[in-house]
Symmetry: C2
Subunit: 153 residues, 2 copies
Amino acid sequence: MKNVERIVNHAENHCKAHGARLTNKRKIILSGLLEVGKAMSAYDLVDYCKDQFGESIPAMSVYRILDFLQEENLVHKLSLANKYIACAHITCDHAHGVPQFLICGNCQRVEEITINKSTINTLRRNVEDAGFHLVSPQLEMNCLCHDCVEHAA
Amino acid sequence: MKNVERIVNHAENHCKAHGARLTNKRKIILSGLLEVGKAMSAYDLVDYCKDQFGESIPAMSVYRILDFLQEENLVHKLSLANKYIACAHITCDHAHGVPQFLICGNCQRVEEITINKSTINTLRRNVEDAGFHLVSPQLEMNCLCHDCVEHAA
DNA sequence: CTCAAAATGATATGATGTAACATTCTTGGG
DNA sequence: CCCAAGAATGTTACATCATATCATTTTGAG
Ligand SMILES: [Zn+2]
Ligand SMILES: [Zn+2]
Ligand SMILES: [Zn+2]
Ligand SMILES: [Zn+2]
């Protein structure tokens, strides 16, 4: 069984567990994101599904499906790039924490990480000191990946 | 002298100091952002300048002017909201560090802060541990301001 | 003053995202 | 099984955000 298929199956079980339905179209969108392995715009996904799966899914539907997948923590939106990326932890059994994203400004690679609690707490204290309350520590950070740092050197 | 005027003068000196020109149109855009005191889209600014200053500045020019103002650190872009906001530290004489933004998800108030170096360094180490190099610690955080926390309680 | 560079304008178009209503699919109770 | 109700998807139109390209105007150094 291909890896993408395995992850999609896992996602389907995750949905079933609380009565949500990972329909065929939703599987296709999720599969596309998993196959590509990097962030794509909604319209990129329209094209990809047309080209790779022969499925014409209108943009409106893609947006709705992306909303659903985000609610299920199967996909995340990167506001810095207006793109969407498959969750890197779909097959992990632990509950999904608030993710942080490292975005390589050179090759666009994206890494989804979970920064350790003590760092987040430090950040939270900084925010409280400024008179605000941190609601969600989802962060998107402008980075360079290891490869791009090497090649630049 | 009004406060906005004072800040704009300071900005003009800042530009002059290295041969950049804070033209009249650029002053108008910056003044608009300062008067409003919150984040606005480029098209919001087109309308505002038309209504408040009787200046019809085409959107294309507004975008160019915002680009200029960002390079001068007089304005920052909030990617989370696709909006622009005047820098909170124009009249500070110290060099402008990399800012972080706290955005109230309820009333849209924005606070520009500079998180202390040690926190940023901790964050940087977390990023390095993930095999990436942090290029810019500009962060946009989904928060609630103190007032909105109170009123919700 | 003159000319080149900088700034701004005009026009078109691309990219991203949502509103509103229609149609189709799914599913559980009779 | 059948049907009604809700969920999912389709259609159309439009709103919003942003850039490409070329023309014109403004500015300032020489
Ligand atoms: Zn995730
Ligand atoms: Zn890279
Ligand atoms: Zn600033
Ligand atoms: Zn608030």
